[in-house]
Symmetry: C2
Subunit: 698 residues, 2 copies
C-alpha cells in the first residue's frame, strides 16, 4: 500500500498533481465505471482507457521489442493493424514474464507509468503506440490505473505526452487513429455507466491491462499461455521479480505439503531419517566429484560477497547434495556396522539455467526432497530404489491422479557413475512431451550409494494433466478445499429470514463435512453473485461445489456439481457425509482413469522406422523394439530431429528437438512380443533386446 505513496511523489515529480483515487478493485471496464460512480469529488467528465502490451514474432537472437498500446477503452486496437503500422510480424499479447521482468508490473496493473520501470538497456527497444483519440481528448481527464485496479489517476492529454517525453531512452512513439467501434468513447459522469455496447465490446476484447478472474485462452489453442493463466489466476503461483523464480502460493504449497506428508511417512517406514545439510558448498568440495558435478557446473550460483566484504573463496549454492554429503558419509561410515546409512532432506536447490524458465517445470530455485543412502550390497540398494520408485508412482497416481510408466533409463540417459537409474515417466498430452522423476544406485569402493529426488515439478505436471479451459482441476486428495458450499436461489423476493436459513444450512453442511475430515468451506461473501462465486472456485479447481437454496432445502437435499465433468446431481441431506466422501473418491478415481486413457492413447507401439517421427509429431510417445545401444540412441536423436525439420513446434519456445529414450518399461508389451534373435531394432536393424519408450521430453 505504501507503494501508492511512492507513486504519488513520483507522479508529482512528473507534473501530476492529483493523488490517485481509491475505489473497489475492478475487473473490467464496466466495473471500473461503476466503481468510479460511487466516488465523490471526481471530474465531471473523464475517459476510460486500456493499456496493452504486445510482443512481435522475432528471431531469438534479437532483443525483444515489445509494443505498448495506450488507447481509449473502446478503441478497436486490432493487433494486425498495429503490426502493419509498425512493420512487425504477428503481434501477440505478451506473457506474464514480460510484464514482470521488463515492466515490473502485472496483469491488472498495466498503465503507461510502467514505462518508467523499464531498464535503460531495454527501453530503446520498446515501441509505444498512442491512440489519437486520447491525444485529442476533450475531457482533460484521462483515467489510468496507476498501480492496481483499485486506484485511478486522471491526467490531461498534455500531461500524458510530457510523461512519454520524460521517459528517458524512449524513442519509438507512434500515434494511431483507431476506428472507434462504439458510439461513445467518453463516459460522462451523469450517465453513471458506459453504454452496454461499449461494455460488451470491452468484455469481448482480450484486454491484457485489465485483471480477469477467469481463463481467456484455450488449452488446445495456446498451451503455454493457458498454463500461465491457470497458475496465476487460480492463485497457485505469482510471478517474481527475479527471473526464473516464482512464489509458490498457499494453494500450490498445500499440494506440496500433502506430498511431503505421504512421502515422509513412506520413507520413515523404510528407515530413512530426515536431516538438513547447509545450502552452501565450498568450491573444493563441489569440484571433488568432478564427474558428477560436470553437468551442473554452468548452472551453479556463486556467492562471492557478504555485506561489502569480498569472500576469500567463492562459495556455491548446492545444485544437489551428493558432493556435499558424501565426505560426511565417508566419515560416518567407518565399518560395515554403520551401514546402511539412510538420510533424506527437504530443501530447495538452485540451478541457474539460462534456458527459458517455466513455472514448476524449470525454475532456478525449486523445492524438492533428496534421499541419499549407502548400503553394503547392490541388492539392498536396488530394493530400496524400487521401494522409493513405488512411492513416487503412488504420489503421481494416487495423490495427483497422473499415470506414469515405471522402468529403467538407458545407458545414455542414466546418471553419471550409476549402475542403474530407475524412473517414473509421466506425459503431458497437450505437448506430447515426457517428464520424469528418478532414483539411482551408484556403486562406490565399499558401498552402494543411492540417490533419489522428487520436486515441485510434480505440481506443474498435475496442473497440465487435469486443467481445462475453465482453469485448474484439483484431484480431491491434494485439494486444499475439497468442497465449496455456495448459497443459491435467493432473489429479491426472499426475506432476510430466508437468507439466514440458507446461510445456516451452508454452515451446517460445512460443519458436518469437516467433522468427517472433508475439507469443506462455505462462501457466504456478500456482493458477489452465485455465478461469480462459481467462476471463482472453478478457476481454483475445487472438486465439488455444493449449492444450497430454499428449494433444495424444501426437498431436504443439496445440489452437487463436479469440477472434473461439470455433472450436477442432487444429494439428500440425510447421509450427506458418506455421499460426499464417496463422490470425492469417485472423482479421484475418474480423474486417473481419464488421464490414463489419454496416456495410453498416446503411447503407440511403432514397428517401422517410417512411422516413428510422424508418431512423435502427433504428440505421442513411441514404444519401439530397440537394440539398447548408445550409438543407436544418438542416431535416433539425430534422425528424428532432422526428419521433423518441416514440423511446427508446439510452442514458440520449444526447439524442434530430437527424441530420446525415456525408459525401458518394467512392464513390456506382449503383442507382438520381442523374440530374441529375431525381432530387430527398428532404427538400426540390430537384434532388439526390449521395447523402449521414446519421446520428446521436458
Amino acid at each position: 500500500m505504501s507503494d501508492i505513496t511512492a507513486l504519488v511523489s513520483k507522479l508529482s515529480g512528473l507534473g501530476f498533481n492529483d493523488t490517485p483515487v481509491e475505489h473497489a478493485p475492478v475487473e473490467n471496464v464496466e466495473q471500473w465505471a461503476e466503481a468510479l460512480s460511487t466516488v465523490s469529488g471526481l471530474p465531471a467528465e473523464y475517459t476510460l482507457t486500456k493499456t496493452l502490451i504486445f510482443k512481435p514474432k522475432q528471431p531469438k537472437s534479437e532483443a525483444m521489442a515489445p509494443v505498448v498500446v495506450i488507447a481509449k477503452h473502446d478503441s478497436a486496437t486490432n493487433s494486425k493493424a498495429i503490426g502493419n503500422e509498425l512493420k512487425l510480424k504477428e503481434l501477440r499479447f505478451a506473457n506474464d514474464d514480460v510484464l514482470t521482468d521488463m515492466f515490473q508490473t502485472a496483469k491488472g496493473s498495466v498503465s503507461p507509468f510502467a514505462l518508467a520501470n523499464v531498464s535503460k538497456e531495454n527501453i530503446a527497444n520498446v515501441r509505444v503506440v498512442v491512440d489519437k483519440a486520447l491525444l485529442n481528448d476533450s475531457t482533460g481527464n484521462i483515467a489510468f490505473h496507476p498501480l492496481t485496479s483499485s486506484h485511478t489517476v486522471f491526467v490531461s492529454a498534455a500531461t500524458l505526452q510530457s510523461f512519454l517525453k520524460a521517459v528517458e531512452g524512449l524513442t519509438h512513439v507512434t500515434e494511431m487513429d483507431f476506428a472507434a467501434d462504439a458510439e461513445t468513447a467518453t463516459v460522462a459522469k451523469a450517465e453513471k455507466k458506459p453504454s452496454a455496447a461499449a461494455a460488451a465490446a470491452a468484455a469481448s476484447d482480450e484486454v491484457a491491462g485489465v485483471s480477469k478472474g477467469g481463463i481467456d485462452v484455450s488449452k488446445d489453442v495456446d498451451f503455454p499461455r493457458w498454463y500461465q493463466q491457470v497458475l496465476t489466476r487460480s492463485d497457485m503461483l505469482e510471478y517474481y521479480d527475479v527471473s526464473g523464480c516464482y512464489i509458490v502460493r498457499p494453494l500450490a504449497y498445500f499440494v506440496w505439503q500433502q506430498i511431503q506428508e505421504f512421502f515422509d511417512a513412506g520413507i520413515r517406514s523404510l528407515g530413512v531419517k530426515n536431516c538438513y545439510f547447509p545450502m552452501f558448498v565450498s568450491s573444493k568440495v563441489l569440484e571433488r566429484e568432478k564427474d558428477h558435478i560436470e553437468g551442473f557446473a554452468p548452472e551453479v550460483a556463486w556467492v562471492t560477497r557478504a555485506g561489502s566484504t569480498e569472500l576469500a573463496e567463492p562459495i556455491a549454492i548446492r545444485p544437489t547434495s551428493e558432493t556435499v554429503m558424501y565426505p560426511y558419509f565417508a566419515k560416518w561410515i567407518r565399518s560395515h556396522r554403520d551401514l546402511p546409512l539412510k538420510i533424506n532432506q527437504w530443501c530447495s536447490v538452485v540451478r541457474w539455467e539460462f534456458k527459458n524458465p517455466q513455472p514448476f517445470l524449470r525454475t532456478r530455485e525449486f523445492l524438492w526432497q533428496e534421499g541419499h543412502c549407502a548400503y553394503l550390497t547392490e541388492k539392498e540398494a536396488m530394493v530400496e530404489v524400487y521401494d522409493v520408485l513405488t512411492l513416487y508412482r503412488r504420489i503421481y497416481e494416487e495423490l495427483l491422479a497422473v499415470p506414469v510408466i515405471e522402468g529403467v533409463k538407458s545407458d545414455k540417459e542414466k546418471f553419471a557413475g550409476g549402475v542403474a537409474t530407475t524412473t517414473v515417466e509421466g506425459f503431458i498430452a497437450a505437448t506430447g512431451r515426457g517428464i520424469q522423476d528418478s532414483g539411482a544406485d551408484r556403486p562406490k569402493l565399499h558401498v552402494h550409494q543411492t540417490s533419489w529426488g522428487l520436486s515441485t515439478r510434480t505440481i506443474g505436471v498435475m496442473v497440465m494433466t487435469h486443467g481445462d479451459d475453465q482453469g485448474l482441476v484439483m484431484p480431491p486428495r491434494v485439494a486444499e478445499t475439497q468442497v465449496i458450499i455456495v448459497p443459491c436461489g435467493l432473489t429479491a423476493k426472499h426475506s432476510e429470514e430466508d437468507r439466514r436459513v440458507v446461510s445456516d444450512a451452508c454452515l451446517n453442511v460445512e460443519a458436518r463435512l469437516r467433522a468427517v475430515g472433508v475439507r469443506a468451506e462455505s462462501d457466504l461473501r456478500e456482493h458477489y453473485t452465485p455465478g461469480q462465486k462459481f467462476n471463482h472456485w472453478e478457476v481454483r479447481g475445487v472438486p465439488i461445489r455444493v449449492e444450497i437454496g430454499p428449494k433444495d432445502l424444501e426437498k431436504h437435499s443439496v445440489m452437487t456439481a463436479r469440477r472434473d465433468t461439470f455433472v450436477k446431481a442432487p444429494v439428500a441431506l440425510e447421509g450427506l457425509e458418506s455421499s460426499i466422501q464417496l463422490l470425492l473418491v469417485t472423482i479421484q478415481n475418474d480423474m486417473l482413469v481419464k488421464a490414463r486413457k489419454t496416456f495410453d492413447d498416446r503411447v503407440k507401439i511403432v514397428l517401422e522406422w517410417n512411422e516413428f517421427v510422424p508418431v512423435l509429431n502427433s504428440k505421442c510417445l513411441a514404444l519401439i523394439p530397440w537394440c539398447e545401444r548408445e550409438v543407436c540412441e544418438d542416431q535416433i536423436k539425430t534422425r528424428s530431429s532432422r526428419d521433423s525439420l518441416g514440423d511446427e513446434p508446439e510452442d514458440e519456445k520449444a526447439p524442434s528437438m530430437g527424441a530420446k529414450s525415456l525408459c525401458l518399461p518394467s512392464k513390456q508389451p506382449t503383442n507382438p512380443p520381442i523374440v530374441h534373435g529375431e525381432t530387430k531394432c527398428i532404427q538400426c536393424g540390430e537384434n532388439a533386446k526390449r521395447y523402449a519408450l521414446f519421446g520428446r521430453s521436458y
Copy 2:
C-alpha cells in the same frame, strides 16, 4: 571412502610407500592395539601415537597460532610444560572449529598429515612439537590414523621428519623430551595389547586425536567446549567445511519436525496458510525498505555469478522476507475485502555474521518459520501476535521443557518501525545470558503488518538447558527415541536359549510400547557390552532406559532408568504400557519444573543500583523498577559494562558486555509492587513505570 585412495596417492608423493591398513574403528589406544592385533601382515613392532592440537590464549587481534603436538601415545604431554617451552600462555585443546576450518579434519581423524591441509596464510602461524621419543623410535614403524580411526599407516621417524619438512611454509618445529609416564612406549606385536598401565594412562589423558563416545568435559568447567562435545558426540550436529554452517543430523532434525508439526497445526487453526517465496531478492527490492534492512545489510550474502557468467545485477539471499513479501502484499491486498492476509513459510535464511559462530545459536544459515500477516486494525493484529506468542511459549515449555517469561520489548529493543514487539525470553543458566524469540506489529498506511519467527536456535537452548556431564538430556515429547531397551544380566554361563528368551522379551516390550505410540527401540547389537550401550544412549539423551535380564523376567518385571535423574526402578510387565507412558509424562513435567526452579532462582528482584552488576556477574537476570526511557537504557548498558570490567567473562569469546533490557514482563512482581509516582527507577531516579527484566543476552 574414496578419500583413502586419494590419500594413498598423496602419501606416495611424499615418500610413503605402504597403503593404509584397514581395521575396526577404534575409540581409544587400547581398542587400537586390539584392532591391530587382528590384522595380518603388520610390522612385528610398531609404536602407537597421539596427535593433539592446542590453542594458546592470545589477543583477538593476533592471528591464531595453534600448536600441534605429535607424541607417543603414552608420553606425558603436559600442556603447561609445552606452553613454557614455546612461551605461550594457557594452552587449551582447540575446539572443533579449529580442527574443521584450519586443519580440515575432525576429532578422531587428527594426524600430522592434517598439516598438509592448512592454507598458506595460516601455516606460518602453526607451531609443531615433536616428541623426541618418536624421533628416536627404533621400531621404524610409527602408527598414525591417516584420516579415520579405522585406518592406520606406519612410517619411519625419517619419513615423519621429511614429511614435516615437505609441508610448505611450516617453520616452527620444536623437539621436546616428554617424560614417559608408563613403562613401555612400544607395543610389541607379540604382547597382543599394551600394558594395562599404558592403556589406563592413555584413557585418563584427554586425547583430542582419539574420538570418544562420551563427554569428557564438565558443563560447569568449560561450557562452550561441553556444548560442542554434547552436540557432536550425541550425533545431533556435525561441523561443516563452510565456517558458520553446520549439518543438522537426524536426532536434532527430529526435534525440529516435532516443533513444525505442533506449530503448523497451531497456526492453521488461526487461519494462517503456508507458502514459499524465493530465497533470492533483487537488490532493488532489498533496498526498498531501507529502515528495515539496515541492520542486516552487512550480513547479506550476494550471488554475483552463475556458472562462469557474471550477473548483470548481484542478487541477495534473503536474510528475512519482509522486503521480499511486502510488494506482493501490496498487489494482493486491493481493498479491505482482501484482509486479513495471513501467510507463513518454513525456510532457511542467511545472515553472514562475522562474529564467532555457535551451533544453533549463531549460524550463517538457519532454519526457521517466518509468519507475515496484514490486518485492517491494530486490535486484530495484536490478538494474533499474542496468539502466536502463546504458541512459542508452549513450544518452549510443553515441548522443550524450557521455561520462558512473556512480555514486550522496550522502545530501544523493539523491531524497527514496530508499534510493539512481544517476546518470550529464555535463559541459559550456565552462562547467565538471555535468549529470545519474538513477534511484532508494524503499522503501515492502511494495514497492520505483523511478523513473527522461531528458529532452530530453540534446539540449542534445549540442549544448554537440560544437558549434563553425561551428554544430552532429551525431553520425551521431542525425543526421537523415548525408550531404549537393552538386554542385560547375560554372562558366559547363560545358554543361547537364555539369550534368545531375553532378546525376544526386548522385542516384545518394544512392540507393546510402539503399539501405544511410544517411540521405543531395542539395542540388540552384539559385540557391545550393556555398559557401552548405556553410555551410547545416555550421550544421546534417551529419556528412559529399560533393562531386561533373566532375573527381571523371573520377577515378571523390567528395570527402568531415568535419564534426567538416573533414578532406577523396577516396573511390572503387566500394565507396562501405561507405566511407561506415565513415566514419560512425569519426566517431561519434572524437567520443566527443575528448569523453572533454576530460572526462578536466577531472576532476582533488584531494588538498589549497587546490587545490579553483582547480580549479573553471578549469572543472574535482574528485575528492576524502571522508568522505560531509552536514554536510561543506554546508561544502564554503559554503567554495567564499565562497572563489570574487572570481571572474568564466562567464556573466552564472550565480550564483557553491558546489560540490556530483555522484556517488560506481562506478569509483574507484586512484592514490592510499583507504586506510581513513588517507586523510582533504580538507575536514574525518575519515576518507575514497570518492572523490567535486564540481563546479558545471546
